[in-house]
Subunit: 423 residues, 2 copies
Amino acid sequence: MKESEPRVVIVGAGFGGLSCAQALARAPVEITLIDRQNHHLFQPLLYQVATAGLSPADIAWPVRRMLRRQKNVEVLLGEVSGADVHARTVRLGEKALAYDFLVLATGATHAYFGKDEWEPYAPGLKQLDDATDIRQRILMAFERAEIATDPDEREALLTFVVVGAGPTGVELAGAIAELAKRALASDFRHIDPTQARIVLVEAGPRVLTAFPEKLSAYSERALERLGVEVRTGHPITSCSSHGVTLDKKEVPARTIIWAAGVAASRAAEWLGVESDRAGRVPVDAELRPTGLEDVFVVGDTALFIDESGAPLPGVAPVAKQQGVHVGRLIRAAVEGRGLPGPFRYRNWGNMATIGRRAAVIDWGTFRLRGRLAWWLWGFVHIYFLINLRSRLIVAIQWLWSYLMFDSGARLITGLERRNRGVE
Amino acid sequence: MKESEPRVVIVGAGFGGLSCAQALARAPVEITLIDRQNHHLFQPLLYQVATAGLSPADIAWPVRRMLRRQKNVEVLLGEVSGADVHARTVRLGEKALAYDFLVLATGATHAYFGKDEWEPYAPGLKQLDDATDIRQRILMAFERAEIATDPDEREALLTFVVVGAGPTGVELAGAIAELAKRALASDFRHIDPTQARIVLVEAGPRVLTAFPEKLSAYSERALERLGVEVRTGHPITSCSSHGVTLDKKEVPARTIIWAAGVAASRAAEWLGVESDRAGRVPVDAELRPTGLEDVFVVGDTALFIDESGAPLPGVAPVAKQQGVHVGRLIRAAVEGRGLPGPFRYRNWGNMATIGRRAAVIDWGTFRLRGRLAWWLWGFVHIYFLINLRSRLIVAIQWLWSYLMFDSGARLITGLERRNRGVE
């Protein structure tokens, strides 16, 4: 009996893959969920790990634990390296796993638009290790500035460039400004961290382009109040260990963070289908790539054109809703019931926060900015955390930071590994 | 005026160095506190980071932050490589820092008693990076066992050997047993984590030799109730990637943790004095090495013989009290006041915990074991954490683990770095 149940292989345990697995909880299928990491990550708060506000374990949970009661799923830690849509298998190490339905929820990674050589100088923020690496770079810059004797070097060490002013870039720049101007303010003896220069660079005409213009303008003012230099309308034209070039001028900086662009994972290549410029797999109303009946692509890896003709953005709610939809589709198919209609994205809107008192919310007809928006942003994010433990802990960390102007996770780790020259 | 204040250089921001700096808060001195890490670590709970119960930031705090209000101290992140007691300088990178008083609080590291080649297979637990490394090894062993096809390999992956049954070894073994038998119990599909074998090896005749015999015997029973195999009276005679040899028998094991011995840091070498076998610097009643008037050694690095003729143990309270004492000595000296008497250790006693319901407490006349001891152990440890934030967060993590049989920080990080073959 059990042997004959259809096999569903889901690659990726992010918002898309996890919600798909959960939507299949009561379906008569055997699910294999594969991820390179052992944890599901709440990416919207990852920038707070990078800026020493939260600990990795506050926003990440073991996938096994989350699904331990769901007996029709097995979780594998490993990296899928390809798929064979004719043989209906995915390649995991030396093994080939057979599937009846394949769900690719492999997400996206940072992209440098043909400038991959910039990556070592301007790391991006996608995984926990990226966040602890960036945290280390930021904190070490202050440590090095404290002992620097050359004033130019000190200035470059105290200059932080964030490239890209989408929500991640805006939130990162705001959080670095808070860190420098509040949490670190009186911790040093030879430098004044409040004099740190934080530059937010955006090639487009304004910050937070996905938001209405008024909220963008407000965000820009809020950033400037925090002391962030906002430089819109100019892409950076070079990036090295010395800094960046912006509008033909050199900006010496030892810490550069990339929040400018993402490219989809290599799913299109595995499937042998054409992708768009960002590497995304075009999918139909059922979230299937053209010509493949038993393969679904969801989340950041999928290119889904909505009714207005625009592609859906690469945000958590899209991935979650698509994952659930595919779960329902598969369940209906194996149970021989009528399929649900085509996928429709329910857009609850956008939010972004700027430092400790400002945020912008665009829930369609309901738009809000300022302090109340900031509180709402906090409640919504705590609500979406996975369990009570994380909610309590994140709430305490935030309350502590708010009241004490402190940040709770200012740890530099991995120093000895680094000093030994291992990396 | 300020230039002429005596310079105190403190090396190490553990319990000894930090308490010395704090004891000098109101003294007319200029203090430089140097550490290789940017954080002070609450080592007594480090084993809980290694066993996925707590996050690094729950038990570590930036040294700068802790001392930011104390204006007579500057904190440097760096590694001291030597001292020149004639020139009265310490070497920090390429610089020589002058001192009028030098306090060495450089702690200890794990020692393999001439078997340094065992280190890669049996890492010890002293710093945060050690703890996250051991956490990764433990969690990965279960992940690998889940996909192992060879039954012998699976068994070796599910065997955990802890070498040394002092407090750290006992607490580690108990915590690994809890993790396997409770938190992970229903998370896997192909292995049964409750069948994991945890072996606690001790060369001496009993566990927790620093405790009275009755409490040792109780601890051994409590460990066995948790499913830990306690093997006393036998040292391991080999250690490799295959496992250990114990009492002439091979114990195949993929995870081995070293909690058997420590050696003092290289302070004796820097000072050019004779050390004892464990590398400790013999100090007089004023915590000074023979013949050096302006150098003090405290904590795990010092060999202090108490009235009974026995050396003081390498535990946090000894280091703390010695640090405070040296602070008072230096203050009295620079203020030209009468010196405090010789150092006397106020022994508050020993505590150790075994899993989620048992602990032993030896406070001299007051001895306790069992559940009440476990609660007391918890309260005492929370009380000694540095700030309210950490206390709240650790309390919540423990309560959560206690009620939900869960562990909050089961993260495997650094995987990609590892996979790229960097380490």
